[in-house]
Subunit: 241 residues, 2 copies
Amino acid sequence: MTKLREEPLQHLEIAEYLIHNIRSSVYEVNQKIPSENELCRQFNVNRHVVRQAIARLTNLGWVTPLQGKGCYVNHIPKPILYVLSSHTRFSENMESQGVQHKSKLLNWTKGLPTSLEKEQLTLEENEEVYRLEILRFIDEKPISITTTVFPESEVPNLDMHFSDFQSLYGILLEHYQLRPIRSSSTFQASLPMMKDAELLEIPESIPVVQIESIMNHPSGYPIEFSVARVRGDMHKCLVEF
Amino acid sequence: MTKLREEPLQHLEIAEYLIHNIRSSVYEVNQKIPSENELCRQFNVNRHVVRQAIARLTNLGWVTPLQGKGCYVNHIPKPILYVLSSHTRFSENMESQGVQHKSKLLNWTKGLPTSLEKEQLTLEENEEVYRLEILRFIDEKPISITTTVFPESEVPNLDMHFSDFQSLYGILLEHYQLRPIRSSSTFQASLPMMKDAELLEIPESIPVVQIESIMNHPSGYPIEFSVARVRGDMHKCLVEF
DNA sequence: TAGTGGTCTAGACCACTAC
DNA sequence: TAGTGGTCTAGACCACTAT
């Protein structure tokens, strides 16, 4: 009996075949790739091998399998440009590019800061903070989750203005005549936490950029510390010097 | 016959168990986790299920399996801070933090630019460029790959200075009295290309930050366009305003 | 030689979707 | 009901490492 299989790594070959077909639009965006059983017949391999190949594509963000339906080719959007400067805000950035956007307040708390927050905002002992979690959308698709923290003393009764939440900076400007100025930002690529991946509707293996920013009061002291987790594939950040 | 299995998703449970044990240092860094067969016995499941769990950990960057040896817990380094400003360079950044670093010229070419390069460097028709690929190390571990492009006219005979390559900016300063100034940078998270993942010695599922920079001549026109792919887990970029 | 991870086959049952 | 992807079992052979 001669062995049918001469070269190993069939799952890699199948993965490459599939990626090639996606790249060359043989399988079109938002359409299905052939079913697992179909690919088994096509390559004359066990279903497990096909599933290994598809797992690879899923991890790399090419496709999303849906139980009972099929395995769909993802739409990889052209990344939105986000200009990082001392004065730019999310809304302004999106509007300057003519992009339809939206924000949603996921939840908020008032209480004692973490030690990191305390340090970044140079808070006094026992000073309380407002902590907001905001989910932002572009073209109805979630793009980022931001956790942002203010000293309670700077924005007293902030939560009174949360009904019909639209824009954080709208609230600050309207009710506190406050226009925070970006002092510094750090950014880093990482994999999302499971909770963030769910909210952003991406698999756990799609990277996010984590952007930590410190915003100052116009008179110079820090009043906001925020940590944003942004879909890496939808977002490109620009800094000019 | 009662079914032995009541709840599904055993591979997820095993993955969580393993991650928990890594977090709490039951399995220590640079040490092995139990072998696949060991875990099969421990959880009384098929080896395939255990492998699914380990694949998950591998994708998330927790462990690296080595054929014939075992599956080792990765060391997740504290990210190096890289300050992005108009004048900072890689070497200076590393030295200011007292970090041992090194650069290696992987290869270089001289020829016509791509359309992107031509646009970014505002080149004339048929103007040639030097294109260098540089691999950088911190503490002997690869951290980034940079493709950097110069108009040939700005650095004539650049390749004459590549023997004993140490620092790109050293060469520019010594032989051309040139100190490029950062004009703008964009950054974006993504998964590495296969070739980059190999050079950076990371699995394909570990994210990288892609940083595109345009550097100007002191008199203001662009003379360098570079694209760096940096290990996301080893690198944190700081911008001050 | 024994143990490890890498690959593959063959077959089963389940949950979900479409019809 | 048929087809899809999700999960799991049982068993095999391979390549590599340690001894």
